[in-house]
């Protein structure tokens, strides 16, 4: 059977540069965890329930619920700086 040669229709992807994860905490006891509401599809309501879970099950963990400053499509250095300054860890949701 005759073989055809055709061109590949896909574009050219960029290179991937690995980025490091932050070192993890040895324990959450006494730590401050920021719960970051992505302001999308009732995310805040889910995070409030997660905040309630910590209060019920790990009362030694401090939690603070904050919202992104603007829509989730915009970077938010102001919030990141606050979390870095005053927090020990973060849970962000819901990314769909």
């Amino acid at each position: 059977m005759a073989k055809l040669t055709v061109l590949n229709p896909m574009g050219y992807p960029p290179k991937i540069t690995r980025k490091p994860l932050a070192p993890r905490l040895s324990s959450l006891e006494g730590k401050t965890i920021y719960l970051v509401d992505a302001r999308f599809d009732d995310s805040e309501l889910l995070l409030r329930e997660m905040q309630g879970w910590f209060a019920d099950n790990m009362p030694a963990v401090k939690t603070k619920l904050v919202q992104l400053s603007s829509v989730y499509t915009k970077d938010d250095p102001k919030t990141w700086e606050e979390i870095k300054r005053n927090g020990d860890a973060a849970i962000i949701g819901v990314g769909h």
Partner: protein, 438 residues
């Protein structure tokens, strides 16, 4: 990802189950394949506090382990010792596909999601060369960059890559400058949004007649070779040159959108329009040729004519029925365009747009309660961005404008068999010169 890698704050991100493949792909292409994740059931939207607490108390929908165990371990489990953090992965795309039979190649293109699931014209070197002969730009010139969402990486493409997709769509070589202009817009016709959006293409200028494009009867339908294949080419080049449009991975539209087969490509009926052409409104001369791209095409309202007694109420009703996060583009048959002048004195498109902006209103309480307004506009309003910040001050029953003037557009299309007209909910992106790609 930024919080974890740039600010050094250990972070876990929460997602819902259907997005697991897409999330894993996004963290991988952003260089963090071992980012810590947890997945709850879908949907979160519209659930009661008790139901959401059950999500938190329940199992991760991907791993099966308790959600809170995933969260806590995500923040405390040490980073894997073998996690390479200083590597750069080069990626590329081969120019040619492994030679094979015609039948096998058709199957391959379909299986790889390189087609729109309809038969394509195989892009042999001969066919691509014929396409390339219709532009003065060299085959290896970079045309632009596209990506399906802002969370993914931009892919790059050349004139030759656009030609490959133009051949696949069945476009004739003389259509190539129009297709290159669409590729140069950088606006993907295969944007990934759970709302299932498509694109719309309006062609203006002499190119319409050079290519025998249709702006009259059936202009937005499958009745003209140029518009059918140009619109199709725009879709194919978008999905392939941006790195894919694969359901669940790089396309998350919940219902899909049938407009996407041809991306509502048509020529404006400049000859029968009482107003200036769309591209002239955007800075080009009438004798120049251009394409204008709209994305986010999801909704269509329509009616017949512009009635004498209640035309204002009829138009307001159509606008009031739109999701205010969409923007209205009026697609008017020439009969209707003239009727708008007769009824309201709108002897320019700008006057009609001004009337629409002033009359498309809804109570502020209802406006702010729309989910898409909550997702995309309310955060910008609370951030102080206008005009939305001022709208926050309105009383719940106060009628506030739904749209900004700059988001309302008017295009004339149709063959005057009757005065039907439409409002397409979509977002204008840009107008690109076709002449620059000849």
């Amino acid at each position: 990802m930024t919080l974890d890698s740039t600010y050094g704050v250990p972070t876990v991100s929460l997602h819902t189950r259907p997005f697991a493949p897409a999330v894993r792909s996004v963290i991988r292409v952003n260089g963090m394949p071992r980012a810590r994740l947890a997945f709850v059931p879908q949907p979160v939207m519209g659930k009661t506090p008790a139901e959401l607490r059950a999500y938190v108390d329940g199992s991760d929908t991907i791993t099966g382990r308790p959600v809170m165990q995933e969260v806590i371990e995500g923040l405390t489990r040490p980073i894997e010792a073998d996690d390479p953090t200083d590597m750069v992965y080069e990626r590329t795309t081969p120019r040619l596909v492994e030679p094979d039979s015609e039948e096998n190649l058709h199957a391959l293109f379909q299986e790889n999601h390189w087609s729109d699931q309809l038969p394509i014209i195989l892009p042999t070197e001969e066919r691509v060369a014929e396409m390339l002969a219709h532009t003065s730009h060299p085959a290896d010139e970079v045309v632009g960059h596209m990506r399906p969402t802002m969370f993914r990486e931009y892919w790059e493409y050349t004139v030759e890559k656009v030609a490959v997709n133009a051949v696949m769509a069945g476009a004739r070589p003389e259509y190539f400058p129009v297709i290159l202009a669409l590729a140069a817009s950088g606006a993907s016709a295969r944007g990934s949004t759970t709302s299932s959006a498509a694109a719309m293409v309006v062609v203006n200028g002499p190119i319409r007649n050079e290519l025998a494009m249709n702006s009259g009867i059936g202009a937005m339908g499958p009745y003209n070779h140029a518009t059918a294949t140009i619109g199709r080419a725009y879709g194919l080049l978008s999905q392939n040159l941006q790195g894919g449009s694969v359901p669940g991975l790089t396309y998350l539209g919940s219902q899909g959108n049938n407009y996407a087969y041809n991306n509502v490509a048509f020529a404006e009926n400049e000859e029968r329009s009482p107003w200036e052409p769309f591209h002239v409104q955007h800075g080009l001369k009438a004798e120049e040729s251009a394409v204008s791209v709209f994305t986010g095409c999801r909704s269509t309202a329509f009616t017949l004519g512009v009635r004498e007694t209640y035309w204002r109420e009829h138009v307001r009703n159509m606008l009031r029925g739109m999701d205010p996060h969409e923007s209205p583009t009026f697609l008017l048959d020439p009969i209707t365009a003239r009727q708008f002048i007769d009824r309201g004195g709108f002897n320019t498109k700008e006057k009609l747009v001004a009337w629409v902006q002033d009359n498309a209103r809804m109570p502020a309480g209802e406006y702010w309660d729309y989910q898409l307004i909550q997702n995309y506009i309310y955060p910008r309003a609370t951030f102080g961005e206008e005009p939305w910040a001022s709208k926050l001050k309105a009383a719940p029953n106060e009628l506030i404008p739904m749209f900004r003037t700059e988001d309302i557009h008017v295009v004339v299309v149709g063959g005057e068999t009757n005065g039907y007209w439409r409002i397409m909910g979509c977002n204008y992106q840009k107008t690109v010169s076709v002449d620059a790609w000849r």
